[in-house]
Amino acid sequence: MPQMLRLAIPNLSNVWQITLKDTSLISVTGLVEIMRQSYIAAGSTRDPLFFYSFAAVLYLLLTFLSMKLINRLEIKYSRGF
């Protein structure tokens, strides 16, 4: 397991990042998440630029944080190699 994880983590992180961005598509079906919330906010305040940019920054932050976390995991699992 540990040896397999070392090789799998970079690709797994890719999948994680892609799925993270694909969650925005859920808003189409009506579940209230970042995208849906900003859609509602943009509609009621007539300020789409601010709210969608805010959503973009949130997503960027999420990918940034998960990248940092995954980097730490990578270092942890590649000890001794």
Binding site: K21, D22, T23, S24, L25, S27, V28, M35, Y39, A42, R46, D47, P48, L49, Y52, S53, A55, A56, Y59, L60, T63, F64
Partner: protein
């Protein structure tokens, strides 16, 4: 299952596929230029230019395509000043907004693909060119770019397929592409399964063709 509906909706969906293919080809065309430009900027020694290109690809790869389309289509129209400029002629059309968003998005991914391809070129090729007295400009155009294209073909084929599926998001900005027309038929017939099966198989068929074309090109340009 309503087989009749599947048969009658097929030609409608097929004509909508033309819109999808137009979106795909135009955004890939512009995206390739953007990608090449930013890949070259990424390899630049200048720190500021380098950081700028990295920031571009980071922002566009770090945010969902849906957000990018919404910002460009809904967001930019909000700026009063922007609406008075000549650019507004382009940005008020959902068609061009979608193409711009797709081109910028695929450009970011393409720049990463091409950059990694440039970096994996063995220095021997460039040194061989230099020792023959070829100028660095011609080395770049005649040696580095062809090798980079060959190296990046598999990854770029992936990107084309991802982009093809990404064009389905154009339906969120009122564009009548394959998904848009499928949604429209569903809203009048209330039979989502049949229509989406047909739409899905058209997407699958396009993926199949793109996959095989890329495979053929890979074989043709392999060395």
């Amino acid at each position: 299952m309503d087989i009749n509906l599947m048969i009658t909706s097929f030609p409608k969906l097929l004509s909508a596929t033309v819109v999808t293919l137009k979106l795909l080809s135009l955004s890939l065309f512009f995206g390739l230029f953007i990608g090449l430009l930013f890949a070259i900027l990424r390899l630049n020694k200048n720190k500021i230019i380098n950081k700028f290109a990295y920031g571009y690809s980071y922002v566009f790869r770090g945010t969902p395509l849906l957000v990018q389309i919404f910002i460009i289509y809904f967001g930019l129209g909000q700026i009063e000043y922007f609406r008075s400029t000549f650019l507004w002629v382009v940005f008020k059309e959902p068609y061009w907004c979608a193409i711009i968003a797709f081109a910028l998005n695929t450009g970011a991914y393409t720049s990463e693909i091409l950059r990694s391809a440039f970096q994996t070129i063995k220095p021997g090729f460039i040194e061989a060119g230099k020792s023959l007295g070829i100028s660095s400009k011609i080395i770049f155009y005649k040696i580095q770019i062809p090798i980079a294209i060959r190296q990046s073909l598999p990854a770029y084929g992936n990107e084309i397929i991802l982009m093809m599926k990404g064009t389905s998001l154009a339906s969120t900005v009122t564009l009548m592409d394959l998904t848009g027309v499928a949604k429209y038929i569903i809203s009048t017939t209330f039979k989502p399964i049949e229509v989406f099966i047909v739409a899905g198989s058209i997407y699958l068929f396009m993926t199949f063709i793109i996959h095989n074309v890329i495979k053929y090109l890979e074989k043709k340009y392999s060395f």
